[in-house]
Amino acid sequence: MRAAVHHWEAWAPGVEDEAAWRRWCADPKELEREGCPDARFLPALLRRRCGPLARIMLTTAFRCCETHAGAPLATVFASRHGNINESVELLERLAHRQPLSPTSFSHSVHNAQAGLFSIAASNREASSSIAAQQDTFMCGWIEALTLLERAPARPVLLVMGDVPLASPFAPLVDEPETSYALALLLSAAAQDEGLRFSIEGGQARQRRPRWPDALEFLRWMLGDTTRLELASGPRRYVWQRD
């Protein structure tokens, strides 16, 4: 199945607009660990409740659909860790037998970003929130394809983002630690257009990427090679353009 990327937006600390991302893609360096945008487009009441991940993901999401204002748009919010740092705070409160704040609880769920986007953008369309360990970006792409399958005329906004894990769990996960999001506005594409996606089996080589897969995808998208392969465990995820 093919999908075309109509627009993209990305954010990481210090790499915050298109020109900066084009420079980074041509000459990528390790990204900063922490930081988040001001997200002034959000109403103050909503913004106050948003942690760093929500601010970063929603910033790329809103910028990415500016050109698409008002038209129906399905969304996929993909994040490996989601709001787990917020959950850790709640678990520590529970360990001390302290009561939870209802607002903190309702903003700690994995689909909080999806809910906030739907409220702030008045979006009533289908929305999914996924996680898939090391394969989260690739599975976010796959989930976006499933939404295009169900409604081929309706574009899908795919937003992938993460922030570094909080201290109790950080030592348990080996991955590039950076705060970032990538938003892609996708539509179903005809046979000779867009990007072809497939999954190939066989023994993939193990790799420890230097930056998140979503940003590797962005580098490829802005470059000129025809094939991108992101491998993980037994799966090789392949994008091709003609």
Partner: protein, 390 residues
Amino acid sequence: MVNALGRTPDEIWPRLLAADRSGFHTRDDIVPGRSLWLAEVEGRLPRIPQRLRRFDCRNNALTAAALEQIESRISDVVCAVGAERVGVVMGTSTSGVSDAEAAIRHRVRTQQLTESFDYDQLELGGTASFVAELLGLGGPAYTISTACSSGARALASARSLISIGLCDAVVAGATDSICGLTTNGFSALQAISDEVTNPCSANRRGLTLGEGSAVFLVTRGDADIRLRGVGESSEGHHMSAPDPSGEGAEKAMCGALRDADLDASDIVYLNLHGTGTTLNDAMECAAIERVFERVPPCSSTKSLVGHTLGAAGAMEAGFCWMVLERALREPPGPAHLALPPHAFDGEVDPALGALDLARAGAQAPMGAIMSNSFGFGGNNCTLVLEASPS
């Protein structure tokens, strides 16, 4: 399937039809200062194999208990199409958070997480990875976590993965387990009833939490039961309360009918989201009245197995599947569907309009049936299932 009513469909089905509410019990050790009704799965769960011990948590043990029941069918399909063509889509809202709670409690005392804890238990994606690794599946494997619609969405995505050709079959379903986070969180939201939940009653005071797992093998082509329609919407209303107009619910139900290419009058049974909160039942019933000229028999099964949150959409699709599958087993002749009765105190809230709540022994003619799942954060998904006798 596994839930407070039993460990297999054969155990669960008669208790579902008998509106057996004995699966509920109280616990006073989970929310400080409160005695809470819960629908927990009793007894021992399967052991997680040693090679997968990094996934060893109650949530995954519940999934394993459900998977055991369809393992041979999955093996047959893997033999036929190859492991790399079989995907996994699981829904969950809790993953292994109950085990993470123990690890964090230990850390508060000792500065160290428990030795048995691994992040694979807690991260949401681990729920799907566990299934893929347990069964040796090589297709895409991911977890959907959209609160109470997660399990319904997992089935919707499974169908689409097959339709776009990325998979020939998908193991899809959902699991949630009772934990401190959800019990204390929903308690803080004042969403939990002091009595066992009483959906659509004038006396309803909130939901009762449950746990369990329901998994399906979704394949291409002719099966006895088909997932015929999927409808979805977001509400853009509030992070933890449904839009009182029911517009989001209406859009999901209408979308599912359109996708199924059916009229509302073709639906012979509706499994309600029916959480028993004041707001949910009011908005759901308002939406149903607008979608259906004549409301079909309805019931909420949450007053039998509790609200299993991330698993609810798959659990209730599983009940719908059982309704259809049991009817297909009947001897030749016009088949009738035996419907799960709506278990509550019998005092229908007159404000909810013209509801036809299924009574004990209720039947419907063979036809399409609908299941509603409306999630926290305004995420709705409605499924339509039907039998296609071969």
